[in-house]
């Protein structure tokens, strides 16, 4: 985290002056670390409203799409504006259900590429406010506020050094207010901002008051704030963990905060101790790495009509794999594990994975070649189809590459060195074309066949989940 306030660029309307003499620096100690979490309110819906001002004042649902016959496909709600939410529409709800709940809703999508365009504009504003911006999704980012206090002060009162006591406690709120205003002025987007002594609490805080809220959790108030939260609000606690916590007698966040760390370690291991630290507003035990390593690359597709033939699934698998390996090579990584996911028409979901160093996978080892992974993925698909013993009727297929590592330590194969090098050259050439003319500019014949299915074009990047 940067503590150098002099490197921060100047926001609009502010002028950089010499630091005022006599500034008290005690506030550093008052906030050991300070993080803001910025979350754009129902982002996709805001972008749609931005591009279609005529939709304002109407319920808007983003997602899905209609079939040529006018009926709803089987997409799900990406997001909806607050008006639609007041009718009970929720993210991830099937579009058809959302349409029943809110018949007047406008169901739409913004133009291709608009979301990332607006997102980039917002993040650019953030980057003018602090150099320490970590974008974690299309509509959210963490901002390090360490050392921005004097800068904030001069922003608001360029000529005054008085009322220091007020600033000691509240300058982060003023910072957030200014950021919120700048984002609204420049991009017309509404954002909620949470401030806390660590990322964990900052994120909870940003969701505390929405839309357009600012919530500041001071480090000394952190345990009290956290104690009021339902245990499920804590990041990393899902239904299974909640059950596990309950078994050990932790039903409220307060129980975790008040527990003795040794007891927590005995009950829950490192996870429990870490959870307590985070909830109490202490920085993570290990300093967060500047860029967290990507854990997996996934691509999945929901079909507008259930797929009943293995051949069609394999074709889509090829297309998804091509996208996943393209990203893999772009990042200079190799994958050591391939997983596939099938969701049947009744929403039961099956996954299967195989390590590439597994002898059953031919001990290929980590690779970034489609050709190495496709036979394994197809094998997994067949195993899955066989083991589920169901009538094949699939609404979603996904592929995931994990155990990612930088390209090194690849075991070469006998007599394959030249063939491998040739294949690498082919992928490199195809990737270069894609980088220049877009992904669909070139693809293998099998995956091409898939593109001709007009209704099946929706590819989701689960990595970029909001």
């Amino acid at each position: 985290m940067s503590t150098n306030c002099f490197t921060s660029p100047v926001p609009p309307g502010a002028s950089l002056r010499e630091p005022t003499i006599g500034v008290r620096m005690v506030h550093m100690a008052a906030w050991p670390t300070i993080i803001a979490h910025l979350d754009l309110d129902c982002f996709f819906a805001q972008v749609v409203e931005l591009d279609h001002p005529e939709y304002r004042g109407h319920p808007v649902i983003v997602g899905g799409g209609r079939r040529p016959d006018g009926s709803f496909g089987r997409g799900v709600v990406c997001t909806s504006n607050y008006l639609a939410r007041s009718h009970g529409v929720r993210t991830a709800m099937p579009i058809a259900q959302a349409a029943r709940l809110c018949p007047d809703a406008i169901i739409t999508h913004a133009a291709h590429g608009r979301y990332s365009e607006v997102s980039r504009e917002v993040m650019a504003v953030c980057e003018r406010f602090t150099p320490d911006v970590r974008i974690v999704g299309i509509d959210e980012a963490y901002l390090g506020l360490q050392g921005l206090e004097r800068w904030t002060r001069r922003l608001v009162h360029p000529d005054q050094t008085s009322s220091e006591d007020f600033w000691e406690s509240d300058w982060p709120i003023e910072f957030a207010r200014r950021l919120q205003e700048a984002i609204r002025e420049e991009t017309e987007m509404s954002a909620s901002i949470g401030i806390g002594p660590n990322r964990f609490l900052a994120k909870i805080a940003s969701g505390y008051v929405k839309p357009a809220g600012i919530t500041c959790v001071r480090h000394d108030a952190a345990p009290r704030f956290a104690a009021t939260l339902p245990i499920r609000r804590l990041r990393g606690v899902g239904p299974k963990t909640e059950e596990r916590l309950r078994r050990h007698g932790y039903t409220h966040t307060r129980d975790i905060i008040e527990a003795h760390p040794e007891q927590l370690a005995a009950d829950l291991g490192d996870f429990g101790v870490e959870l307590q630290r985070k909830a109490m507003g202490l920085p993570a035990d290990r300093p967060a790495e500047a860029h967290r390593d990507r854990k997996s690359i996934s691509r999945e597709r929901t079909f507008s009509e259930d797929i009943r033939s293995r051949e069609d699934l394999v074709t889509t698998l090829h297309a998804l794999m091509a996208r996943a390996t393209y990203t893999l090579r772009e990042k200079g990584l190799r994958a050591g594990c391939v997983s596939i996911k099938l969701r049947y028409d009744d929403f039961t979901t099956f996954t299967r994975d195989r390590s590439l160093s597994d002898p059953a996978a031919g001990s290929v080892g980590a690779t970034d070649h489609d050709a190495d992974m496709l036979p394994i993925a197809e094998g997994l698909l067949d195993e899955l189809i066989r083991s589920t013993r169901r009538r094949l009727s699939v609404r979603l297929i996904g592929v995931k590459l994990s155990h990612l590592a930088p390209e090194s330590h690849r075991q070469l194969r006998l007599g394959e060195t030249e063939a491998y090098d040739k294949r690498s050259a082919v992928y490199a050439a195809a990737d270069a074309i894609r980088a220049r003319h877009g992904f669909d500019a070139i693809s293998c014949a099998r995956a091409c066949r898939e593109k001709k299915r007009p209704s099946n074009f929706r590819t989701r990047h689960p990595d970029a989940e909001p």
């Binding site: 996978a361 001990s363 090194s408 330590h409 070469l412 194969r413 006998l414 007599g415 060195t417």
Partner: protein
């Protein structure tokens, strides 16, 4: 059928025969061992057979008193567990009544339900002549197997390399195994039978060869190998008047990769080692490798008195460096990475003290040799 059998001999036989019994099979008869009790010379003879429809085994013991001849099928797992558990007993009584078999110790009676012996598939007999037959010493056979079988592929996807290639040309015998990343080739001598063709070529499944290696470990009797179109038979010679064990197996169909093409001919760097020194160095360097970073870097240098520097590095774990002397080194400096277990696997099966490692470039195979009878090609790991 009724017989009193020495427990030790029974246990050895059951353990060996169970190796062939399939763990899962749609035919319950195949999960059984066939017990046949008969007379042989002046005494009794207990013969056990098992098959998984691909491989079959038949072995006999004379440490048995027969009071009534007969045969029965007994589920292999129960028979094995019972004989194993009756560890205080010098002998056990086996008695079949109908399809059930009673196994009795001094204070215990087990009645195990089996099947009529007639439901067991017929096992192939050793052909007296014809086909390709040759004889090999137990020691020679043992060595051929141990020097190749570790390199076989363990997956099912490439069926032909899930076995060991056996090739006889006149009296010369060669066995080759590969998993696509390394290849082991061992040579030995065989005595062809009269009328055997000049050349024989077949692929023997790994499982059958594993069984053969267990059988050959306990005997010094020469082995006769008979190969027909789709089958190989290993017949161990009769010892001390006990009929020899017979192991048969279907051959692997398909063609073995053209292995001669991958044996490099133009290696221009040659390092000689004491086997123990190299093996110890590689094992120590391997301590700081992990799944993501499993290569050990080996830097060969002719300067400074033929020094090999091995190094390894595992992210978030640590790194190691080991320097050892080579007996000799001929060629320019080179640094190459190898999976350490691929090197130690080969060093384990070398009986000689000396071994040579020939190289060409960091992305070209390494070649390990020991004498004229063992050759091992190993592909490097890309260290970049």
């Amino acid at each position: 059928m009724k017989a009193i059998c020495d427990r030790g001999a029974l246990l050895d036989a059951v353990n060996m025969v169970s190796g062939v019994v399939p763990s899962r099979t749609p035919r319950p008869q195949l999960s059984c061992i066939r017990l046949q009790v008969g007379r042989h010379g002046g005494g009794g003879l207990l013969t056990m057979s098992a098959t998984d429809a691909e491989i079959s085994i038949r072995l006999s013991t004379t440490q048995v008193d027969v009071s009534e001849e007969g045969e029965v099928l007994v589920p292999a797992d129960k028979l094995k567990q019972i004989v194993n558990a009756e560890d205080g007993e010098p002998t056990l009584t086996l008695e079949a009544t109908g399809d059930a078999c009673e196994i009795r110790g001094a204070d215990a009676t087990f009645k195990v339900y089996g099947y009529p012996a007639t439901e067991f598939p017929a096992l192939p007999d050793v052909p007296k002549d014809g086909g390709s037959r040759f004889t090999i010493s137990a020691e020679g056979f043992r060595q051929l197997i141990s020097r190749t079988i570790f390199s076989t592929a363990r997956e099912n996807s490439r069926y032909a390399i899930n076995g060991v290639l056996l090739r006889r040309t006149g009296k010369k015998l060669e066995m080759v195994a590969t998993d696509g990343r390394r290849l082991a080739l061992a040579r030995g001598m065989a005595e062809p039978a009269d009328g055997a063709p000049e050349e024989t070529l077949c692929i023997i499944p790994t499982k059958a060869l594993n069984m053969a290696s267990r059988l050959v470990a306990g005997t010094d009797a020469p082995v006769t190998v008979a190969i027909s179109d789709n089958q190989v038979i290993f017949a161990f010679e009769e010892e001390d008047d006990i009929p020899g064990t017979v192991l048969t197996s279907n051959l692997v169909e398909g063609s073995f990769p053209p292995y001669e093409d991958v044996i490099p001919k133009d290696q221009d760097k040659k390092a000689a080692f004491d086997v123990d020194i190299l093996s110890s160095a590689v094992k120590r360097a391997a301590l700081l490798t992990n799944e993501e970073s499993r290569g050990v870097s080996m830097a060969f240098s002719g300067e400074d008195g033929n020094r090999l520097t091995l190094s390894s590095r595992a992210p978030e774990m640590g790194e190691a460096e080991i320097k050892v002397d080579m007996s000799s080194y001929d060629g320019g400096d080179v640094t190459i990475g190898f999976n350490p277990s691929f090197i130690t696997d080969a060093l384990k099966v070398i009986d000689d003290r000396n071994v040579t490692l020939e190289l060409k470039a960091p992305n070209k195979p390494g070649l390990i040799r020991s004498g004229n009878d063992f050759l091992y090609v190993v592909m490097p790991v890309n260290l970049k």
